[in-house]
């Protein structure tokens, strides 16, 4: 992190200059000096624990809008970060414009991080593909977005199971749902059928319905060499 390293730079030269003056330059002294510096750094950080804590929380919040994340404001194009991972300052102009779509794929967003997303009352499209910390508990939190959310993508999230998908029925305006490639779901084909029944007006993209079923009739047809209509 940037901030704690800054005091490190401040402390180091002062100490070294001191030792150089008193004892003369030698490796051993420098080592001892750096140990002492380590301890005083720890003291420095311990004294300012709450500041460091607040700084870490701020940086964690910023992590939610990480490098790969894109936002789209109403009626505009996607706002992405450029090659260096910086956002252009244009988007500060859009503070009053509601956010329509958020792509947080691959982002390390977790249960607490969803606070910032749930505040977006006009969110229509949310992509949470391949997020490693999004689990069943997080899905239980999405109900405040029920009025506006139309598209949700959860593909590839390793911690989501069919139990969390059951809590998606609050999202009655959902039109497109992507639940493909969820490794923790025990029965992907059956889950897709049940989710489709649960959300009748939603188009569900997921595993094939017949996945996991034994392919009986096809094998029999190979024996008899006559196609049996499925």
């Amino acid at each position: 992190m940037a901030a704690p390293r800054a005091p490190l730079h401040l402390v180091m030269p002062v100490w070294n200059r001191g030792t150089r003056g008193i004892r003369g330059l030698s490796r051993a002294v420098a080592l001892e000096g750096s140990q002492k510096k380590g301890r005083s750094l720890l003291q420095f950080l311990a004294d300012r624990f709450y500041d460091v804590q607040a700084l870490r929380e701020y940086l964690l919040q910023k992590q939610v809008l990480k490098v790969h994340q894109k936002n789209r404001f109403q009626g505009k194009e996607w706002i992405r970060s450029d090659a260096h991972g910086h956002f252009s300052l244009d988007f500060l102009k859009f503070q009053a414009v509601p956010v329509e779509a958020v792509d947080a794929s691959g982002c390390a967003i977790n249960y607490q991080g969803l606070d910032s997303l749930l505040a977006l009352k006009e969110l229509q499209s949310l992509w949470l593909q391949r997020c490693p910390h999004v689990d069943d508990w997080c899905l239980g939190r999405l109900h405040p977005l029920a009025n506006s959310l139309q598209e949700l993508s959860l593909a590839g999230c390793p911690r989501i199971s069919e139990r969390g998908l059951a809590s998606l029925h609050h999202l009655r305006n959902l039109r497109r749902l992507d639940i493909s490639d969820l490794p923790a779901v025990s029965n992907p084909g059956l889950t897709r059928i049940l989710v489709e029944e649960m959300l009748p007006s939603c188009q569900v993209l997921g595993a094939d319905w017949a996945q996991g079923l034994p392919s009986g009739p096809e094998e029999q047809s190979q024996d008899r060499a006559s196609p049996i209509p499925a």
């Binding site: 899905l139 239980g140 939190r141 199971s161 139990r163 809590s167």
Partner: protein, 491 residues
């Protein structure tokens, strides 16, 4: 005599040669280590028999509990293990307290924890219950941070965040509204629904007779209680808590007489020893202890009687028994192919019948609490299938018409540690038996409050007062003073 001497001499010579032979033998091929090990073992045994050393019995006594333990927790279910966990977690310095958990059935065949339906909700009427449940659900969400053991796989408690749906008739609608207000104040996310909204949301419900419904949107649902129990057990063992497979048969205590401020004579008791009888044996071990925690669940009443709680003239504090009884409850598992789908919450009908979805195959778990007159005999855990036909199926079939055709797959029975006074837990020390603490009497919602209750009892033991959630309304003295903390939403 000469012959004898010759024989002796020959014998000694032979012996000498034998020894030499053995010595040569050891030098040649045998291991000297084995010899040394045997010698030190024999030395240890001799030293233990001679006076002046510690008593190390020459046979295996690892099944016996230790002779001294700071805290003895009677009962190794989810409440007892939770108290042990928080005692070990909050103690200062680390390793200061020796905790012993005494559990008489390591298979947990009759334990309420293992037989529980596993629901967790915040829809209670008493604010303390709501706070307990909120903390417990946070604990469950972060269970792998709380109960992580090095090199062991993470726990998956299989939480279903589907929420609870409580239905109320005309009579109960006003009470439900005030309850929801209290719940919202404490931070639970509950919404009230009219019959029409209910029909829109869950078209398979027949809303006839329903005036109001309250639906928990977040943090409510059900999970696997066995996983929580095993996770706690594993973690608690790694923290150094001792377990004993035995039964508490006797408390040895001493009494002292004092006067209260108003001049009344009061007899205070202090438990000094707990006699733990080993399972399937007549052997018992007296464990000297500083504190006893009664977390025996459905059997807490018997443990309290052993400690002398309630032995006195009725109407006095000495004569106030612990009003926790064993009550048998049935749970049935049925299959209904046309039944409600994935979105089914844990539904509790106004009549008291409840059910929830189990798995993905259209299976449902449910039951009903019997009225006082129909209470089954708690002597055994046999299931009465007629109870399903007469008391559980009709209200559920009326509420969910799809349940008119169903097939019961299996059923089981378990105990509620039922508090006959006000159906809420008893937490805290006994006023007269000063070193017995209670953590029992939760009447069917103990599992969902266990992590929070464990923390509260640990705070009481270590600091003398509650620090996070104030459970003083759940003190034992309310039974004597007659102050009921009535919980209305008991399932």
């Amino acid at each position: 005599m000469l012959r004898r001497a010759l024989q002796l001499g020959l014998g000694r010579g032979l012996l000498g040669r034998g020894l030499l032979g053995r010595g040569l033998g050891t030098h040649r091929g045998g291991s000297t280590l084995d010899q040394n090990g045997k010698v030190s073992e024999i030395k240890k045994k001799i030293q233990s028999v001679l006076p002046g050393g510690a008593w190390n019995p020459p046979y295996d006594t690892s099944y016996l509990p230790p002779e001294h333990s700071d805290v003895v927790i009677v009962g190794g279910g989810v409440i007892g293990l939770s108290v042990a966990y928080w005692l070990k977690r909050l103690e200062k310095p680390r390793g200061a307290i020796r905790v012993l958990v005494v559990e008489r059935d390591h298979t947990y065949s009759q334990a309420s924890t293992a037989l529980s339906v596993g629901g967790i909700r915040q829809q209670f009427s008493v604010p303390e219950n709501i706070q307990l449940s909120l903390f417990s659900v946070e604990f469950l969400r972060n269970i792998n941070e709380y109960l992580a053991v090095v090199d062991d796989p993470p726990l998956d408690i299989q939480f279903n965040p589907s929420g609870y749906l409580l239905l109320a008739s005309e009579k109960g609608a006003a009470v439900m509204e005030s309850n929801v207000k209290v719940q919202r104040q404490e931070g639970a996310k509950v919404c009230l629904m009219s019959p029409e909204q209910l029909r829109n949301k869950f078209p398979w419900i027949n809303t006839e007779g329903v005036a109001l419904a309250s639906y928990g949107m977040e943090y409510e649902g059900w999970f696997d209680p066995w996983c929580l129990l095993q996770g706690l057990r594993r973690k608690v063992q790694s923290m150094g808590v001792l377990f004993c497979h035995g039964e508490v048969t006797r408390f040895v205590s001493s009494s002292s007489h004092t006067e209260t401020t108003s001049g009344e004579e009061v007899t205070l008791k202090r438990i000094h020893e707990v006699h733990v009888k080993i399972d399937r044996s007549l052997e018992y071990q007296p464990v000297e202890c500083a504190l006893v925690i009664n977390a025996a669940g459905a059997w807490s009443g018997q443990i309290a009687e052993l400690a002398g709680v309630g032995k006195g003239p009725p109407g006095t504090l000495q004569g106030t028994k612990l009003p926790v009884e064993r009550r048998k409850r049935y749970v049935y598992l049925w299959h209904c192919p046309q039944g409600p789908g994935l979105e089914t919450p844990f539904i509790v009908d106004a009549s008291g019948a409840y059910f929830r979805r189990e798995g993905l195959g259209n299976n449902y778990l449910g039951g009903c609490s019997p009225t006082e007159e129909e209470e089954p005999d708690p002597g055994n855990l046999e299931v009465d299938h007629d109870f399903f036909q007469d008391k559980v199926w009709p209200p559920l079939a009326q509420r969910v018409p799809a349940f008119e055709t169903l097939k019961v797959r299996s059923a089981w029975a378990g105990y509620y540690d039922y508090n006959t006074f006000d159906q809420n837990g008893v937490v805290g020390p006994h006023p007269l038996v000063v070193n017995m603490y209670f953590a029992t009497g939760f009447s069917g919602h103990g599992l969902q409050q266990a992590p929070a209750v464990g923390r509260a009892v640990a705070e009481m033991v270590l600091d003398g007062h509650f620090q996070t959630i104030n459970l003083s309304p759940f003190h034992f003295s309310r039974f004597y003073l007659g102050e009921k903390v009535q919980e209305h939403n008991i399932i």
